[in-house]
């Protein structure tokens, strides 16, 4: 199973973190720091896998963002690489040519998409259609809810 997934920028800014096992906040921060250092130091042509602690790290860079997964000893590296790719495709489809800013400003959406795709560190559904359908349904519900409200909100906003 996947232990965690991190998205971070070339500059070492963490954009998304998803942990599939209970981990103390302090350890999380430490692991993130350590792993970002390791991954950012690697050159472009190097292989996408590395051993780190007792885990396998699978990472790939898409534009300015690094997608980095930690999986267990018996997990398949190549298919994990494609888990990353499929997630990128989902983001891309949802946001329409996704960029780092989309993920920053709509972080909650990025989490929802990831949750529809992976659960408890295992893949829930690999079909792009099923995952996006679930998200779009939620968006429809949201738009119905909030169209009258956003005007009020803007007025109340300092």
């Amino acid at each position: 199973m996947m232990r965690f997934m991190l998205l971070f920028s070339r500059q070492g800014k963490l954009r998304l973190q998803k942990w599939y096992t209970a981990t103390a906040e302090k350890d999380k921060k430490k692991m993130v720091r350590e792993l970002m250092q390791v991954v950012l130091a690697r050159k472009p042509k190097m292989c996408s896998f590395l051993e780190w602690r007792d885990l396998k790290i699978v990472y790939k860079r898409y534009a300015s963002l690094y997608f980095c997964c930690a999986v267990e000893e018996q997990d398949n590296e190549l298919i994990t690489l494609e888990v990353i790719h499929r997630f990128v495709e989902l983001l891309d489809k949802y946001f329409g040519s996704v960029c780092e800013l989309d993920i920053i400003f709509n972080f909650e959406k990025a989490y929802f998409i990831l949750d529809e795709f992976l659960m408890g560190g295992e893949i829930q559904d690999t079909s792009k259609k099923s995952v996006l359908k679930a998200i779009e349904q939620a968006d429809l519900l949201q738009e119905e809810d909030e169209s009258p409200r956003s005007v009020l909100e803007e007025m109340g906003l300092a």
Binding site: E122, I123, Q142
Partner: protein
């Protein structure tokens, strides 16, 4: 602000994120966040009830702040309220917040569970999925208790929607992993297994993860899954790439599900049912065949997905290890990948081949790729790939190719990355031992290893070569000759000196017939290295010398002369001094017969597991040395009883117990010495040394004996300015971090002893200057200064002569200025004057008063000047005054400790170091050192009894700095992690630095 895409409902959140992004500095960001937190807090506390939308927005902002890395300690209640909203997005944000910021607050968990219960019962599939996601994300025991009974029901119910089934399967998996005792499958087992037949591919994909995990734990109950998995796999493998619609990924049908099915099958032995087995073999062959077909797409996703299945199939083939035909095909396929242009594939092929190498069917096939693998080791640009290549070479090594592989690994070692050298050294040492056909090759290999990578040759490796040489008399003469030659090199590694000293001490007689390696030449060769070596090696050499006296009576006078010299018999190191004294006495008192008995050749070592193998196992886990299992059957009459490799724990334990500690060499004479006979107590060291009767050798006689002697020898050129601190002064300083008394410095002229005591922010130090020569030192002056502040002290001296006069002579005037102006100085040090004349053999004392004004990092400098025989001696040292000297120990209970620990949670308040143990990881020694640091050692605080936690307050004039410490030893890795937290970043940092040098 960028255009936010669809679904945007929270403008306030976007504005806030935008603001944060516009912050120019960390401070500005914190300010903005604090403002926002205050705002949200007031909204939550306000009397006006918030509507759901506002609540959602604020909870989302809190979540954002938390994900930025800031602590959030409120908002949980509002998030829980959102859970019971009937608006989907509000509920969704509530669940997201709870998932990310779980709080073990039991009151809250009860409320959360209540909301989840309602949603699960709602029969609204989207709500049910949200609730299941939340359970899977939190996965706590309380949740397992509440829902482990309910979820299997949802999973297998006929009317459950597919999407809910998927979530339920993975949710159950998570609960099973955290609390297996609470998830009782019993009656559901068969229906869960049959999910493999579900029409919906998404359901199968989710369910198979659950089934695989359950099968690993209860293989018998789930074994019906094997035939179902085979038929599902068969259907996928034989389907056309378009059959599976959205489950086809870049022309590969259902790659995730295929991998999972192959993984599930690896939980079981090959199917017993012939038909099932035939079908499976067919699948595996099809997968192997497809690898040879031209790709359907040039996209890397296509080849990755296809090869992911291929590698998983190969894993299954290796797991079965029963189909020679498939094994060899797998090996050939991997062989193709070894030269693939994709680095990822080369990496995986090397990794996968490692396991193939241990199969008797494919071992030979793997060996045919040796040249490619060697080439990879030499040319791969990525160190992680080279590491795999080295692993594979190790795995494919047997007697037929050992010489080639060892030679390649040795030559690679010369340029290998530092990160993998130690492991490479161990592997070379093991292969050399295991596959040695002749012992001379083995000895050559190990000596080469020391020559090439001496720093990475651990004790286990050189102990082992000695054990083997001692136990095999046919290699002893060759070993003696080879080490003798190796020691001729102008610069040889200290490990070489150790091996050389030991072997020549035992078997030097075997080469003494050759006039080019006569006893005296051997001795002179060894002794020429003596002064460059560390104390443990010198101790070993002294033992070699006494063995020489027994082997070669003609060397007795020369060796006795050496033992008698001041640098040995009066060495400041107790161990060396004791050996010199005892060996000298032994050689002069004992008769030849007694000597011959005491110094007899070492008896053979009892056969036991190679200490190196044990070490590699410890480093890599048992799997890493699997090659030895394969070889077990073939091995006969190999070097050093390789049959003993049944590595039970007790064998390793005895091996370790009888493996000498660094300073106790293999001679074993040490235990015979009465403990403490020549060990003066630290406080009175100088007195003891100087009161000992004996000829006082003039300093010139010992000129080359002390490795610290370089400082005074440069003195003729020295100016009157204080010399820069000695290069070793930091090391000397480190010796005193955890102790207050001892010898600070020694060269052939001068010895400086220290006694010190500290109370609160004050300290008093006594310095004892001992003249080791018989000639007086004149114009003996000392000065103490704080670095970087010499200028201000000159300014000062004009103004404050009155207070100076109260102390008859102050060698560091600037400190008083520091007292007036605490910003410019951190420590106030006042030294009383010292007599300008020190008689030969005499000792003078100086008192220094120290006041800590504020925390500091740089130690004060001590400069000593005197004339000896006309030449000016000018020595600068760091005075061992470190910030930890001003610790007041603080006792506290576990609860208090952790509360304070949490309070000091800003990143800059913490300093942490992870470092390798330099000394044996002895609990008592660690405790003594931590107490020596000045903190209170707190018992029963850390849940892990191996760890140490300490607390103390640093007393400075300006402030008190509370300081918490945690030291986590990892004996397996021989590493420590040290964490310091204090209210002042410079203190955490400095103490961490100081303490990290102590272990």
């Amino acid at each position: 602000m960028p255009a936010v895409s669809k679904g945007d409902g929270m403008r306030g959140l976007a504005v806030f994120i935008s603001d944060i992004r516009n912050c120019k500095s960390k401070e500005a960001e914190i300010k903005r966040i604090n403002k926002e937190l205050a705002n949200i807090r007031s909204k939550f506390k306000g009397d006006k009830a918030l509507d759901g939308y506002s609540k959602k927005k604020y909870v989302c902002k809190l979540l954002f702040i938390f994900l930025l890395g800031h602590d959030i300690d409120f908002g949980h209640m509002e998030a829980v309220n959102l859970l019971s909203s009937n608006k989907y997005t509000e509920k969704q944000i509530g669940y997201l917040f709870i998932s990310v910021l779980v709080n073990s607050n039991s009151e809250l968990i009860r409320l959360i569970n209540n909301a989840i219960k309602n949603d699960l019962a709602s029969r609204n599939p989207t709500f049910m999925c949200l609730a299941l996601h939340c359970i899977a994300n939190v996965g706590s025991r309380e949740m397992a208790e509440a829902f482990a009974g309910e979820i299997p029901r949802i999973l297998v119910a006929g009317d459950t929607m597919d999407s809910v089934k998927q979530s339920a399967a993975l949710c159950l998996l998570r609960l099973y992993k955290t609390s297996p005792d609470l998830v009782l499958m019993g009656e559901w087992t068969s229906r869960v297994v049959h999910l493999l037949n579900d029409q919906h591919m998404g359901v199968v994909t989710a369910a198979i993860s659950l089934i695989t995990c359950l099968s690993q734990k209860n293989p018998d109950e789930f074994k019906t899954c094997v035939s179902l998995a085979v038929s599902r796999l068969s259907r996928i493998v034989s389907s056309a790439s378009t059959d599976l619609q959205d489950y086809t990924y870049y022309f590969v049908p259902a790659p995730w599900l295929s991998c999972k099915l192959l993984r599930l099958l690896q939980c079981y032995p090959p199917p017993e049912d012939g038909a099932v087995k035939g079908r499976l073999v067919e699948c595996l062959e099809t997968i192997l065949n497809k690898a040879q077909e031209p790709p359907k797409s040039k996209k890397v996703q296509h080849s990755n997905a296809k090869n992911a299945i291929l590698f998983e199939a190969i894993s299954l083939i290796i797991h079965y290890d029963s189909e020679p035909n498939l094994l060899v095909r797998a090996c050939n396929q991997l062989g193709q990948f070894l030269q693939h242009r994709e680095t990822n594939l080369r990496y995986l092929a090397l990794e996968s081949m490692c396991t193939l190498a241990s199969s008797e069917f494919s071992h030979e096939a793997v060996k045919t790729h040796i040249e490619t693998v060697i080439n990879a080791l030499k040319t791969e640009r990525d160190v992680s790939v080279r590491q795999r290549a080295a692993d594979l070479l190790y795995a494919m090594c047997d007697r037929s190719n050992a010489k080639q592989i060892v030679a390649e690994m040795l030559s690679y070692l010369e340029t290998a990355d530092y990160s993998i050298r130690e492991e490479m050294v161990l592997k070379v040492a093991i292969l050399a031992e295991k596959y040695a056909v002749d012992y001379s090759w083995y000895v050559d290999t190990i000596l080469n290893l020391i020559r090439i990578a001496g720093d990475y040759v651990s004790e286990e490796v050189w102990y082992r070569v000695i054990q083997i040489v001692i136990n095999r008399d046919d290699v002893q003469g060759y070993a003696a000759k080879t080490v003798f030659e190796a020691l001729q090199a102008p610069a040889c590694h200290e490990n070489m000196v150790k091996v050389g000293g030991y072997i020549l001490g035992e078997f030097g007689n075997l080469i003494a017939g050759d006039p080019r390696s006569s006893p005296l030449i051997q001795f002179n060769l060894l002794h020429s290295k003596f002064h460059l070596c560390s104390v443990p090696t010198r101790a070993l050499l002294l033992s070699a010398y006494i063995k020489f006296i027994n082997l070669f009576p003609e060397t007795k006078a020369t060796i006795q002369e050496v033992l008698r010299s001041d640098s040995q018999i009066r060495n400041s190191d107790v161990e060396l001094q004791q050996r010199a004294v005892e060996y000298l006495k032994l050689s002069s008192i004992a008769s030849t017969d007694v000597l011959a008995t005491v110094l007899e050749e070492m008896p053979p070592f009892p056969e036991r597991e190679s200490s190196i193998l044990a070490k590699l196992k410890k480093k890599k886990g048992p799997g890493a040395v699997s090659v030895s299992d394969l070889e077990d059957g073939k091995r006969e009459g190999e070097l050093n009883g390789a049959g003993e490799r049944s590595a039970d724990a007790s064998a390793i334990a005895t091996s370790n117990a009888s493996t000498p500690s660094p300073s106790a060499d293999l001679l074993g004479l040490r235990s015979a010495a009465p403990v403490g006979s020549a060990a003066p107590s630290a406080g009175s060291l100088l007195v003891d040394v100087f009161s000992e009767a004996g000829p006082a050798a003039p300093p010139s006689a010992v000129n080359d004996d002390n490795f610290l002697s370089s400082a005074p020898s440069s003195s003729p050129l020295a100016s009157e300015d204080p010399a820069p601190p000695l290069p070793e002064s930091d090391e000397l300083l480190n010796k005193f971090v955890c102790k207050n008394n001892g010898v600070l410095f020694e060269n052939q002229l001068l010895q400086i002893g220290i006694k010190s005591e500290y109370r609160q922010n004050l300290g008093r130090m006594y310095l004892f200057y001992g003249n080791k020569t018989s000639v007086q030192f004149v114009s003996f002056t000392t000065a103490v200064s704080c670095p970087g502040e010499l200028q201000s002290h000159i300014l000062y001296a004009d103004h404050h002569t009155d207070s100076l006069q109260s102390l008859s002579f102050i060698s560091c005037n600037e400190q008083l200025l520091a007292g007036l102006n605490p910003e410019s100085s951190q420590v106030n040090v006042q030294a009383k004057p010292v007599e300008p004349l020190v008689e030969g053999g005499a000792q003078v004392q100086q008192v220094i008063n120290i006041e800590c004004l504020t925390d500091f990092s740089e130690a004060p400098l001590l400069n000593i000047k005197f004339r000896y025989g006309g030449a000016l001696q000018n020595i600068s040292l760091k005075l061992p005054v470190t910030i930890n000297k001003f610790f007041q120990p603080t006792e506290m209970a576990s609860q208090d400790f952790f509360q304070r620990w949490k309070q000091l949670s800003l990143p800059q308040q913490e300093a942490q170091k992870i470092f390798k143990a330099n000394n044996a990881m002895d609990t008592e020694v660690l405790k003594a050192k931590l107490l020596g640091l000045g903190t209170a050692l707190l018992e029963n605080v850390d849940p892990n009894p191996e760890n140490f936690v300490c607390a103390g307050v640093i007393q400075t004039k300006a402030q008190q700095v509370g300081c918490l410490l945690r030291l986590e030893p990892n004996t397996q890795a021989q590493m420590y992690r040290l964490t310091l937290r204090s209210s002042k970043d410079s203190v955490s940092k400095r103490i961490c630095e100081l303490l990290a040098e102590q272990f």
